[in-house]
């Protein structure tokens, strides 16, 4: 792993890597997503959930990604705050809108599953509420970065917010264990193995990997965009000076 710090501190190397990696991850995401959708619409109905079990193939990966992206945001914020890596700061900034989008998807698809299964689009359940709090933290992170003219100060303040907000991650994960919630407990990532039937596990695995690859691709594209923005602003300043 000795290459990692050198890679992170070198935007040129990142640009060379992301030029081919972003489209590759995008293509992998499309293929895995198509297979996952085909498998998802081919499975038999669940004995309790009926046909709405198909919503879980897009809801659960969105929920996983909402937390995974936050881990990336917090990790990049930590590196940016401590080591002042330009690339880490760009990575944190690029992750936030994607994380907000995945969290939005988790909340909306969850609500559309909850209405026929629970009889309500929304309940103030510990899992749902803690995920809503994470969505609001993503929005606050983006608002904070946009609200300060001094980009260095904005980056530091937003990084601190992202790190403080990371406290919410274990709360989301263990909310179903700590409190009596309507939301079911973990059924895939369990110490004693998944309790989900294999027939549903396969489409979920394909969709989960598709979401992960899509995030990888889009994150790289957004980091590239952020690095181009910073270069453009530096070039504009040089051009203005003559």
């Amino acid at each position: 792993m000795s290459w990692a710090p050198a890679f992170l501190s070198n935007p040129e190397r990142f640009m060379a890597f992301s030029r081919w990696a972003a489209p590759l991850f995008g293509a992998i995401a499309v293929i895995l997503g198509l297979v996952g959708l085909w498998l998802g619409f081919s499975v038999p109905d669940d004995y309790q959930q009926g046909q709405t079990v198909r919503i879980l193939f897009i809801h659960v990966p969105a929920a996983w990604m909402s937390m995974f992206v936050y881990v990336c945001l917090a990790g990049a914020s930590f590196l940016a705050l401590i080591f002042r890596h330009t690339l880490a700061d760009a990575a944190a900034q690029a992750a936030a809108p994607l994380g907000a989008a995945f969290t939005f998807l988790a909340l909306v698809t969850g609500a559309l599953w909850g209405r026929p299964m629970w009889g309500a689009y929304w309940v103030w359940d510990a899992r749902l509420t803690s995920v809503l709090v994470m969505f609001l933290i993503y929005l606050a992170y983006m608002a904070l970065r946009a609200s300060l003219d001094d980009e260095t100060k904005a980056a530091r303040a937003a990084a601190i917010l992202a790190l403080v907000g990371a406290i919410n991650l274990p709360i989301i994960k263990f909310s179903v264990d700590w409190w009596n919630t309507l939301h079911q407990g973990a059924s895939v990532f369990r110490a004693d193995g998944p309790t989900l039937a294999p027939v549903y596990l396969w489409p979920l695995a394909f969709m989960g990997l598709a979401y992960m690859a899509a995030f990888g691709s889009l994150w790289l594209v957004r980091i590239r965009g952020e690095l181009w923005r910073r270069r453009a602003e530096a070039a504009a300043a040089r051009a203005a000076r003559g």
Partner: protein, 55 residues
Amino acid sequence: MFDGKYAEFIVPAFAITAVVFAGMVAFSLNHARRWKRRFEEFDRIGQSRAGGDRP
């Protein structure tokens, strides 16, 4: 197999997911392309000014 039962919940869930993914792809690509173009413009202006100032 899916035969349309609960379609009023399943179809919007998939449609909203498709729209959000399309939005993420469009905004991300647009953001990167726009700033790359701007960088190239400013860089060209900077270079032409620097070249023009030379004796």
